[in-house]
Amino acid sequence: MSEPVIKCESVYKIFGENSKKMLEEANGNVDAKTFQEKGCIVGVNNASFEVSKGEMLVVMGLSGSGKSTLLRCISRLTDATGGKIFIEGQDLLQLNNKELIDLRRNKMGMVFQSFALLPHKTVVENIAFPLQIKGIKTEDSISKAMDMVKLVGLDGRENYFPRELSGGQQQRVGIARSLAVEPDIWFLDEPFSALDPLIRKEMQDEFLRLQEKLQKTIMFITHDFDEALKLADRIAIMKDGIIEQLDTPANIVLNPATEYVRKFTEEVPREKVLLIEDVMDAATSDNLSDLKVSKDEIIENVAEKILTQEKTVVVIDNNNKIVGSINPSKIINTVFGGRKNSN
């Protein structure tokens, strides 16, 4: 695999005076409680991970878990207290102001929870804003922005002001603005949290459609575990600034690393999250049924078919090659049994 687009090595963010000195003295062993007694608040505690090109990493955590702080360290809206962050191999913390602005103008886009639109600019002017800041001519920036307006489905409203739009529409503008400079890296900070549930679902689908088309490298922040499961390639679950577990959705559901993570997974309808691949057994030859299912199917979609079989079902891959088998009892175990096992 090529070089990761985002790479963090033991990133720390500690708020408060003398935080740098205290971090050095702690010698890599940061305890939130002792820091708090000395008047410092630990935002991010020893975060190390990589995000590769085209991947979507969802950072999930409750409020105060440090997820937004982590994102702000990586976009350098705040400076990390310790550790190293590389963006496409460049050491982010070594960049001077001009280089940083350059990086943001060309490589990064960000969407905010409260939309953060400029109230004095129309939809199209808001979207064209990052382009104009770069110094692109007004006409060119507007025509480019109009493409973005179409991309997020706001045609006909380009001359509205943010105050005249609904929340969902405002966030579409936010998304279009963050994409206007065609960034490689896309940061989304709880983009759908301020929206109503129905609109949120619609926006999630829209978002997935966009990502299919654009294939950006994404860091997506959310406090909604279902949203994380729905969107993520990999999920990082944070608590008190520490990444508790970083894995694929299936692995998190099946093998929660800590008690904290397990609590989240308890209520998750597994049949909606897991693929056949995630639960299948090794290929076997005895007592097979005629039914063949693809390994990439979500369990929910094929469960009925499998459960009507008495025998073990064959699992195949895209090329019709047999890669495993699955017994109906396994499906029942997965859907209903898992929770008891882990208790």
Binding site: S75, L77, N97, I101, L118, H120, I133, N159
Partner: protein, 717 residues
Amino acid sequence: MELIKKYPKLFQWLFLLIVFFALCFAIDVPETYKFIRGQAEFIKDPNQSTYVLFGKEVRYYAFDVFWRLPPLLGWLPIWINDSLFFLMNEWMPMEFWNEDTQEFKTRPLLLQISRNLTYFMTFLIELIREILIGGKNTVVAFTSWEWISENPWAELPGLPWTIVAAGAAILGYKLSGKGLALFAGLVMIYISIFGQWKPSMQTLSFILIAAPLSFIFGLGLGIAAFKSKRVEKALYPIILVMQTMPQYAVLVPAMVLFGVGDHAAVIITMVVAIPPMILLTLLGLRAIPPEVIEAGKMSGCNNWQLMFKVLIPTARRDILIGVNQVIMVCFSMAVISAFIAAKGLGYNLLLALNRLDIGLALEAGLCISLIAILLDKMSLAWANKQIDYFGNLTFFQRHKNTYLFGFAVILGIIFAYFGSFYFKEGYNYLFEVPHNKGISTADFWNKGVDWIFDAFFVYIKAFNTWLIVEVLQPMRALYLRMPAVATLVLVVGAGYIIGGIRSALVVCGLTLFIALSPWWDRALVTTYMATFGVIISCIIGFTVGTLCFQNKHSASFMLAVCDIFQTFPSFVYLIPVMMLFGITDTSVLIAVIVYATIPATRYTIEGLRSVPAALHDAATMSGVTKFQRLFKIEFPLAFPHMMLGLNQTIVFALFMVIIGAFIGTEDLGQYILKALSDKKGAGIGLTLGFCVAFIGLIFDNLIRTWVNQRKKHLGIS
């Protein structure tokens, strides 16, 4: 013991009061004490003591230290004077090229700066003034008087009043629509017809210079304070003092530095108008959601782009509210600056008041009030105006107002041109209605005043006498009877109980400054007048506010009334009271009460309104009566905000008491007024100004600290 634990604060207050009264009774009035003799700057008397500090000799009457502290700060005004004199006349002499004599001349740096500034400001004011009403000075600035006398045609013609009126109406229309357009037009026509055109335009030109300059400096400093904590910390005390400093007092040092006239007034107006602009800029920028700033940064803004393309446009409304404040401060300063000979409506008003011509004063006052309301409404409309999208409009539609104004200009000129043929007797009424040719209502008013005097003189006099003899004089005597030490203990104790050691120290410092200045007695008189005014104002304001709050419409109506009254420059309030009560303390106090009732009423209504609707519903559902709701829910929750109203009431009352000196009082204001006509008054004026400001700040500190604690306690902020 149980009780003390349950109400520890209550017992602390009781204890403080006991100590205070004990001190009051324990310390006798010295036999030599006589009011007004406390400070003897101006009289030489062998009974005085003297001391020398920093090379300045201070003379004073010595008393028991417990009774009155010695004026250890007495050298301060003298020292300020001498320093100013030194800076202006001796400090850093340099060679400057003199245009008139065509040679180098040695002159102190500051004097030269002051002269250049004066020249520059005068030029700006004259330019605007002559665009509005015509004149020769601007042309002279570029040429010379000889050239002018050879070329009599060379002068700015000035705009016919019709054009200015039309311009005001069009501006009103652009900002807010037909209503404001109509009001603006009518105000202008009124001004013109009643012969107040020239002074009004003089005042307007004053504002047109002072307000933009104040805006630019205020915005710049506000941004600097936003960017750097250190700048903010440095600016904050200055802003605080300037907001409680009577506008009167800053005029005095201005006179020393810049002389008298419009230019000095503009410069000193800026000093007064910039602090609120800084404050509102800072508030506006602070209120921007952090995500908007981050969005700007992530869009790749550099610092400059972030400030001017993201932050300032986002904070537009707050900044424009700042502009509104600046304009209103400039306007009230334009009136008060009449004391240092700034031309305009204020000057006419001052002349009329000096002559006791109530009719003329009323006319000028009415004009001032109308213009104040107009300026206020216009700048507020500007702040509240939403930006509209106009890309889809045609060029003509987009610039409709500009065309309209162009049309008005042409029409106005044509009218004025024909007018010059029609009006033969030398006055072209379509160009300008001269002062003495307008409709005058002065006689009518004067007759009205006479009638009131004839009809009610006995009653007014009786009321006056009763108030002075039965209420005011005893109250004054009580205030003056307080030994300085007792007052100090009371104030510092209050500070300690409310805000702990920190508040106590701040309050102690402020009080000591006044106690150690030579004007402690005067300060007591100022405080007594302000206290009387505040008490009555609060009673009226809280009652009226509470009553009006019972009905939605009356509440809105009352707030609108407060809005209007608040725009009037404080000086205007003196006119009607002089008309009714003549020249007495009563007049001043009534003006104080009227003026200070505005914030008391406003904050009561606002405070009651701010009680969340959910609480209302909750209270109603638990079956409270109207009275129970008012006393158990609304008052307790609204109380912190009402206390902020009290704070404003105190500031307003102090301002008015000081201005009341014009009518004749015996307090600090009187001395400020004296300082205005004294060559060496700058130091005295400034020190007195600080004394007044500090009285305000003592209350401000105590009330604010209490309110913040209370709000935290109630969980509202």
